[in-house]
């Protein structure tokens, strides 16, 4: 047995059922060993058509399932093509193990063919990385790689695998035994007391919920905390679904394209209970004016996030689920206590705004209104896992899809990587256990800019007959950049025109994926039904108006109460200032780039 065969067996022992990858010179011993495992159906290998597709597919697999996603590539360009997908996993805390081939140790450092220092290149974007120099390094490094990837705040771990290590004699190595994930310690009692005391004093509390709830496996504890305390709750992009969309305490997403109800609640709150969130700039707007009246209780498993951008008045570092469970009884009692009447009035205001400022879908003209299409599709496929690319369509999905569970929303949040959606959908579909995998509904919502960044993965869809449905919103432009140029750069449209797009339906057909087209609002319902009913993979090409923008919008360098809308917004008494249109200069806009 050589190192590569030992490694393949060890991956199976780790519970890896699917690899996403692309072979090449320096990883050939591994692929040779994999051949038998694939033939014996011990492991499935998904041959993508570009290594970035492998990284994003493994990423989507991990996000949808919570298990470690694994991707494989050869040295040099194979490895460098993985980089964006690894970075995405790092920034969104996705557990992945990335295996790259490397030239033999004797050639390393000699500028050999396809030699690239991927170990060094990826250092800022991995949770850790290993470079086994000897076969005997493999057991410890593989075990640690999986343990690190899934422990605490998850992330990607790279194993750069020299060719001679793959070929080396491993017959003396014991079979691999996986290491258990390290547990997150419970938060200290005194921090919980401090948090409970601040919550007790609060008259206008708001829960600011982030993706750490999902990563910390704290969904049940979180939902119980919200249900018992009845505190109005706002969600980050990564937290959509931690409360069902229709939950009475759910005010929606906060931030740049958040709801008015969410943003105004935060701006007026006297206490923010931050649960697994990190004060990302897209969520906070102008940081020094974010939640200006609020004290902060911050719960997080990662101590570095507490106080990083906003000081915490009560820092609760530790296991989020345990902390919430410990806090729930006393905080539930507070809801009926001294400030009960004030809290009820505050909640009523928040809920009233939620009703008043609910999104409208009665667009007047005949063209397809993307938000209405997405809302309708979410009603027609309520259990679907949705992957997005990046841009206007991504924000429309966040605003208008009604997510009831967070692992059904896969989006490149922190990195904002165009090209994520299609390969992530492939990974998500394959993350589901057979035979449910092929029955589950996975929908990729993409834009015309993003889609062409990994369009080659249509071939992967076709090869494995994955029934992913693609909704391609085509405005013949890089819509989000165009929107910013329109609003903040005096309509100087610079390099955003995509009017020479290919015929996307013909492209899909050429890959063997059936495709339909819709360009009238009246035809949307039938087109969506046809898409969902289509057997196997299918693409719906949707022509949308280039002038349609994402609203509301917090302009750069403004606080979250200063939202802009396409129309003059109505306002509740006492909040007119929040809705006034405000001048925004090009200089201010240039300080921040579009999502």
């Amino acid at each position: 047995m050589n190192g590569a065969r030992w490694l393949v067996q060890a991956l199976a022992a780790e519970g890896v059922d699917t690899l996403f990858g692309y072979p090449g010179g320096a990883i050939m011993p591994f692929y040779d060993a994999l051949h038998d495992a694939v033939q014996d159906a011990r492991i499935k290998h998904v041959l993508v058509r570009h290594e970035q597709g492998a990284a994003f597919a493994a990423n989507g697999y991990a996000r949808a399932s919570g298990r470690v996603g694994v991707c494989v590539a050869t040295s040099g360009p194979g490895a460098s093509n993985l980089v964006t997908g690894i970075a995405d996993a790092m920034l969104d805390s996705v557990p992945m193990v990335v295996i790259t081939g490397q030239v033999a140790t004797s050639l390393m450092g000699t500028d050999a063919f396809q030699e690239l220092d991927v170990f060094g290149m990826t250092m800022p974007i991995v949770k850790h990385s290993f470079l086994p120099r000897r076969v005997d390094d493999l057991p410890r490094m593989l075990g640690e790689a999986f343990r690190i990837a899934r422990s605490g705040r998850p992330g990607p771990v790279l194993i750069d695998l020299p060719k001679d290590v793959q070929n080396g004699d491993a017959s003396h190595l014991a079979p691999h035994v996986p290491l258990p994930a390290a547990s997150v310690p419970k938060a200290p009692e005194h921090s919980l007391h401090a948090a409970a005391a601040l919550i007790a004093q609060s008259r206008q509390p708001v829960i600011y919920a982030g993706g750490g709830i999902v990563l910390g496996d704290a969904l049940e504890a979180f939902r119980d905390f919200v249900a018992q305390t009845r505190i109005p709750t706002v969600l980050t992009l990564k937290a959509l679904g931690v409360l069902p969309a229709a939950h009475p305490s759910n005010l929606g997403m906060l931030g740049m394209h958040g709801t008015r109800a969410a943003n105004l609640a935060v701006q007026e709150a006297d206490l923010l209970i931050v649960v697994g969130a990190r004060f990302d700039d897209r969520a906070t707007g102008k940081l020094d004016e974010f939640a200006p009246h609020a004290r902060v209780v911050h719960l997080d498993a990662d101590a570095c996030e507490i106080g990083k951008l906003r000081a915490a008045d009560a820092a609760v570092h530790g296991d989020i689920a345990a902390a919430l469970t410990a806090l729930t009884p006393s905080c539930a009692a507070q809801a009926l206590g001294f400030h009960a009447a004030t809290r009820r009035a505050w909640r009523d205001i928040c809920l009233q705004r939620k009703r008043v400022f609910a999104a409208r879908y009665d667009a007047p003209n005949d063209s397809v209104y993307a938000p209405a299409l997405l809302k309708r599709l979410s009603e027609m496929a309520p259990q679907a896992i949705v992957t997005c690319d990046v841009g206007q369509h991504q924000m429309w999905v966040a605003q208008h899809w009604r997510f009831d569970t967070p692992r059904n929303h896969l989006t490149s949040g922190a990195l904002g990587a165009m090209g994520f959606g299609l390969p992530a959908a492939i990974g998500a579909q394959l993350s589901l256990q057979m035979p449910q995998a092929m029955a589950a509904q996975v929908i990729c919502v993409s834009g015309d800019g993003s889609f062409l960044m990994n369009v080659q993965e249509l071939a992967t869809l076709r090869r494995y007959a994955l029934p992913v449905k693609i909704v391609l919103l085509d405005n013949q432009a890089l819509g989000m950049v165009r929107q910013w140029q329109e609003l903040f750069f005096e309509k100087r449209y610079s390099e955003v025109d995509l009017s020479d797009n290919p015929d996307f339906a013909a492209v899909a057909s050429a890959f063997g994926v059936q495709a339909f087209h819709v360009d009238r609002a009246a035809d949307v319902e039938g087109a969506l039904r046809r898409l969902l009913d289509a057997p196997g993979p299918a693409l719906l090409h949707v022509a949308v108006d280039q002038a349609a923008n994402v609203w509301p919008l917090v302009p750069p360098n403004h606080n979250n109460a200063q939202m802009l809308d396409a129309d003059e917004a109505t306002s509740l008494p006492g909040t007119e200032d929040a809705y006034a249109r405000i001048p925004v200069t090009t200089k201010e806009a240039s300080d921040a780039l579009p999502a």
């Binding site: 170990f119 060094g120 250092m123 800022p124 470079l131 690190i148 106080g307």
Partner: protein, 78 residues
Amino acid sequence: MRYQLELTLRHAEGALTRVLGAAERRGFRPVSVDGEAQPDGDRLYLRMTVEGERSDEALQGQLAKLYDCLAVQVVPCP
């Protein structure tokens, strides 16, 4: 502000680069670095002085998260 840190690292491939890179990416400029490996090669002891506007706790926390960092403490600058 200038901070001095004392670190105990695994003497593993890339450990030193990770520490220096993490410090710089988080906004701290190394101004002096001194260290030596344990004779048996398992540990690398590092003393590093950095300058930066952010808090020393922020850097200490980020360094402590590195897998190869076994211990890190901020000590008074001489």
